[in-house]
Amino acid sequence: MSLALVLEQLLNGVQFGLMLFLMSAGLTLVFGVMGLINLAHGSLYMIGAFLCAAIAAATGNFFIGLMAGIAAAAAAGALIEILVIRRLYARDHLDQVLATFALILILSEGVRMIFGPFPLYLTVPSVLRGTVNLGIVDYSLYRLALIGFGIAVALGLWALIAKTRLGIRIRAGESDREMIAALGVNIRVLYTVVFALGAALAGLAGALVGAIQSVQVGMGEPVLILAFVVIVIGGIGSIKGAMVGALLVGVIDTMGRFLLPRLFATIFDASAAAGTGAALASMLIYLLMALVLIFRPKGLFPAHG
């Protein structure tokens, strides 16, 4: 086990974490501001990836596809908010879960009807292909770019929330919904904008990750589960919590998959070690979540402190 391998795995963990952050930021924003549990967030991720793949195939340019994916996810988000979600704010969480679960089924089948049952082709743009030498390790240029993208979006999101008028309203909406409405802010528009923003982030994540993963129906659900783990660890409603939670989950999951089979290999034979190591590694982030819930029931950075 060389230093180069450890460094590579750390980078992999950070990259995975930053992509999880893009997913969980939208999820936690929507929950923080509107108190809504949106199970259909993964479908918006899927829409971003499918539109990116389709437009990139049609134009031959990944970045045009990326823009189209973000725009489509944001538009779909706004539409869904106006048509469905708006009716759910006053309802309890069970109704929200039921309605947004229905949205998953509808959107998945809709995408399958339009694009067919077979996965789509989407690949890394030629400028981001290959590897780059980082001193002791050759690392995939695209993954490095994903790290850069993730950090840039995180900074942008921070600036948006901390420095702009929209950000002030979002924060106000998080702390006191009735008061901000009473002060004359058009809360309906604010909700639609926040939901579309969250959707755009999911679409961005889907399109970026789609280039190195399978663009297929149902691709959003596994990520959605991880995103929920992230926001529970980070503290529901907190962007900072989502960032810390995402990095924790990304690094712990990757390092677990890397180190646990090695640890078990010192006790068992190779096959058994691979099996037990993999099984335990897949539980690791849920163990982390359970620990956080025991000691910090509201997550690491509770939004309403």
């Binding site: 990259q15 995975f16 077979f118 890394v124 995939s140 190195i212 993963q213 399978s214 998959r257 691979a274």
Partner: protein
């Protein structure tokens, strides 16, 4: 009034006699038509339907339902097909875990089950059943062929990897049963895993000379895309599942040159296969996958048995199925005593033909190969 009623009754009686004479067979197809695994089920269904269309067959009533890749749903559909649709034969299941949930109870209720894809080892061995026929392969088979061919390619230090579930364990066991070299590493990934950065880093560090993977569906697409970007340049050997027509267009150039094993290939040289590939392209505007070929063979097996026996006479119909007196797109086809195929497994390479990625046969891994689990089947 009375006369009218008599005539109606007579007409009904004649009608029912007419139906009995046609001895219609109801085939219930439970397969995956929605979600990420839909491509496989769609191909099995389309291949099956194509065989019926080509035979001009009207005595089969085909009822298709989507299991959404969920075992509990598959069980419900199977019950409904047996109880309300009065299905004589069930088929269609893609995934081993769904097959394990449905098959044992269905065959115990005197229903034939013909598997067009899943071949879990349990159903080939101790839990084999006279009403269960596997028309595709036992799960281990293509992986055994990959292990065998790895020897021929001179691989001595292969890194092997599969998802951590029964078919994944079967795959690695099958590969190791024939592979004679050293293992550079052995990894189990999560089912449905989308990111393989950690595994690729392991492969890079392991000093392997080759890689064996079993990553069906989207998992294979994700792995290949990431592998291509990683700068690791090692040959990949695999079973055909990760490199067939359902995923090749999505993987793209990264798949070129990958060696994989299968009991079927679009270029397999026999008359029926040529017709099948052309007719499939004609009907559905895409190349068939091995799944489509398995659906096609399943339908033809049923048709051949219907010619020899009435499905209501289960013993005779079972004998007719066992005889497997039909032309397979694989060329020769024969059942072993555990009612799983004895067949040739080919080695294929992914190539580009007229701008479309597809497979070409480059050799033969096994002739008349049968699974090892049959020894435990007392039938």
């Amino acid at each position: 009034m009375n006369a009218l009623r008599m005539t109606a009754l007579a007409a009904l009686a004649v009608g029912s006699v007419g139906m009995a004479k046609a001895d219609q067979v109801t085939v219930g197809m439970i397969t995956t038509l929605s979600g990420g695994g839909a491509g496989l089920g769609v191909d099995v269904r389309d291949g099956f339907q194509l065989a019926l269309d080509m035979a001009g067959e009207h005595d089969i009533r085909l009822v298709v339902e989507d299991d959404a890749q969920r075992p509990e749903l598959a069980v419900q559909i199977a019950e409904r097909m047996i109880q309300s649709e009065r299905a004589d034969i069930l088929t269609g299941i893609i995934w081993s875990n769904l097959a394990m949930a449905v098959v044992p109870s269905a065959v115990a209720q005197d229903i034939f089950y013909l598997s067009p894809n899943a071949g879990p080892s349990a159903l080939a061995g101790a839990n084999c059943h006279p009403n269960y026929f596997n028309v595709a392969w036992q799960n281990d088979m293509l992986h055994e062929a990959a292990g065998q061919h790895a020897n021929e390619l001179g691989y001595e230090n292969t890194f092997i990897m599969a998802p951590n579930y029964p078919a994944g364990t079967d795959a690695l066991t099958g590969f190791k049963r024939y592979y004679e070299g050293e293992l550079a590493g052995e990894l189990f990934t999560q089912v449905g895993q989308t990111d393989y950065a950690a595994e690729i880093a392991e492969i890079r560090a392991s000093g392997a000379d080759s890689i064996f993977i079993f990553l069906p569906g989207g998992m294979g697409i994700s792995f290949m895309r990431q592998f291509e970007q990683s700068g690791v340049d090692l040959p990949i050997i695999s079973a055909g599942f990760s490199f067939d027509q359902d995923v090749l267009p999505a993987i793209g150039e990264a798949a070129l040159g990958v060696i994989n094993t299968s009991q079927w290939s679009p270029d397999l040289d026999n008359e029926l296969n040529g017709e099948f590939v052309a007719a499939f392209q004609d009907a559905y505007d895409r190349l068939p996958s091995l799944y489509a070929s398995q659906g096609f063979d399943t339908a033809n097996l049923i048709l051949s048995a219907m010619e020899q026996a009435d499905v209501s006479d289960m013993d005779a119909f079972r004998e007719a199925l066992r005889a497997a007196d039909f032309t397979s797109v694989r060329g020769s086809f024969e059942f072993a005593p555990n009612q799983h195929p004895i067949q040739t497994v080919y080695v294929r390479e992914v190539v580009e033909v007229d701008g479309v990625l597809t497979n070409r046969i480059i050799g033969t891994a096994f002739e008349e190969h049968r699974d090892v689990h049959g020894e435990n089947c007392n039938m």
